[in-house]
Amino acid sequence: MIMKSSSSPLASLLPALAVLVVLALVPALGPSNRILSLAISAGINIVALYGLAVLFGQTGILSMGHAALVGVGAYTAAILARDLGIGFWVALPLGSLLAAAVAAIVGVPSLRVSGHHFVIMTFAFGQLLSIVLTNGGAFTGAATGLDLQLPVTWFGRPAGDLVPYYFIVIAFVAISAVASWLIINSSYGRTLRAIRENEKLAASLGINVGRHKIGAFVVSGLFAGVSGVLLAYFFRHISPNQFSAFPSIYLALMVMIGGARLLLGPIAGGILVSFLPEMLNLDPVESRILYGICLIAVILLLPNGLIAGLFDGLRALGRRLFGSAPRTTVPADSTSETA
């Protein structure tokens, strides 16, 4: 497995920050409210995707119940606001911590069982959570869910409108990107990658594989909790089916389409999946069929995700155009499958 970040760690952060600066300029173009809402919900997903990318891209374990952790953040925000009058900025760390705690509770038993089973366990916990939320009576608002009335403020000024909220979300996307960049380039990140590449070898080097896997899951829970609080304050109404099995599948889909190992992957996946149906003018049913086909195509043809595939394709093209001795016997797209 060839890692691209071998040149300079900083070089991998710059493209992501550049993209974010461009995205922060979007409101100046005077986009419609619809575009801005789509962008905000894409940004909220991207925050969770960065957590999922640490888990899947670095550690190599996939969570299919991630929307449930987002849900923990969202319900924490809504319940804190309703019962204690605690607002957005305090709910953020609390929701994040609670989602991480739930991830730990889920992770300890789930990671006792290996590989495949973990995926199913996370899926099952996701399902269980939405059943619990549905049967939670008045405390969780049952199947209809909860409303959230507290306004979002920024230094005493209201910031709940689309444009200010867009900036808040972009800021959190930037924080998530930097946080995951720090994780990737730390010794902790290297440990996680060692586990991904060869679990037994990592264990033989004295790495506590189980504890690090749970740790990675808890870290991804932190991201998911933040995303959940952002989501609750954006939609102002949350219900159990927003956090059930299918939202989890879509999160996994976004991270797969964008590519989990690159810093730009979550941004690309989140934006593509949110905006593609809008651009192609598809109804929800058609767009979901398209997502599914995209996911299958990406997995079979570009197992490292779209962005990495794009780079590989460009590099292959460059070799064909400028490289030495073009081998005509090798089909052009075979190089993109080096996984």
Binding site: L62, M64, P109, R112, V113, S114, G115, H116, H117, V119, I120, M121, F123, A124, F125, Q127, L128, I131, V132, N135, A245, F246, I249, A252, L253, M256, V285, E286, R288, I289, Y291, G292, I293, C294, L295, I296, I299, L300, P303, A339
Partner: protein
């Protein structure tokens, strides 16, 4: 109280029959290929819709059931040849492909037939009254058909030549191939067999309840819960765990906790895996990858 309890038990067992059919397919496919096929529930749902279409077209239930089995088996064949065989060396990719398939299959069905529930007239409408217990004959039919089919599968795998070859391939794919077993053909065969079981399960399910395009999702989760409880890759385990789930769901509905029914399969699974990470009967960890 007792008659109601027995009725609920029968209800629980009839649903558990369908779940067991999924679990058997899932466990067989996992054992040989290591692929966790989450789209198996959608195979079942499509089996239900094919049955519904056939009955709408005027055929009886039995021909409709046969058509459903054949149609889903064919779909399994096409998907294995077209998609899953490319993921044999990387089972995680196979799992993700199956997630994509869930989304595609579900929404293609919605596109053509709408999201509303579909039902067929009960193929058997008789209700027997045995000492105050009202027994719907359709439920008994579902349970008996499942027992027969699972028993056939079991005998085929434990007694026949092909079953022995299959078990050899599960144990060690490469050595089995060296012994002249056409492993690739067996993989396709198991996929088709599992799909056919899902098709049968779908036909039986719509005989019991109305079916929506979303039915597959919950059913496959329960199927996996059962397969994991028994130990993935272990056929006996899947059947026994299916039985346990049926009894538990039946009793809980009988005692008035029906809103928690869906939680039992997952709760039981988590409990079992906590105590025995490889399931009650010990599963395989899938084919050994080089």
């Amino acid at each position: 109280m007792l008659p109601i309890l027995i009725q609920q038990l029968l209800n629980g067992l009839s649903i558990a029959s369908v779940i067991t059919l999924i679990a058997v397919g899932v466990t067989l496919i996992f054992g040989l290929t290591g692929i966790i096929n989450f789209a198996h529930g959608e195979f079942l749902m499509i089996g239900s819709f094919v049955t519904w279409l056939a009955v709408q077209a005027g055929t009886g239930f039995v021909p409709a059931l046969v058509i459903a089995i054949l149609a889903v088996a064919l779909m399994g064949l096409v998907l294995e040849r077209g998609l899953f065989r490319f993921t044999l060396t990387r089972p995680t990719n196979g799992f993700i492909v199956s997630l994509g398939l869930i989304v595609v299959l579900q929404h293609v069905v919605i596109l053509f037939f709408g999201p509303n529930q579909k039902s067929i007239p009960r193929p058997l409408s008789g209700v027997w009254d045995v000492g105050g217990v009202r027994i719907a004959s359709v439920r008994v039919m579902v349970i008996l058909v499942t027992i027969a089919v699972v028993a056939m599968t079991f005998v085929m795998i434990t007694r026949s030549r092909y079953g022995r070859a299959l078990r050899a391939a599960v144990e060690d794919r490469d050595t089995a191939a060296l012994m002249g077993i056409p492993v690739r053909r067996y993989i396709t065969g198991v996929f088709v067999l599992g799909s056919a079981l899902a098709g049968l399960g779908g036909a039986l399910l719509i005989a019991l309840f109305p079916v929506t395009p979303f039915t597959g999702g919950t059913m496959v989760m329960k199927g996996f819960a059962v397969a994991l409880m028994g130990g993935l890759g272990n056929l006996t385990g899947a059947v026994v765990a299916g039985l346990i789930l049926g009894v538990v769901e039946g009793f809980s509905a009988g005692y008035g906790f029906s809103e928690w029914t869906d939680a039992y399969s997952f709760g039981l699974m988590i409990l079992v895996l906590l105590v025995r990470p490889n399931g009650l009967f010990g599963g395989t960890s899938g084919p050994k990858m080089a």
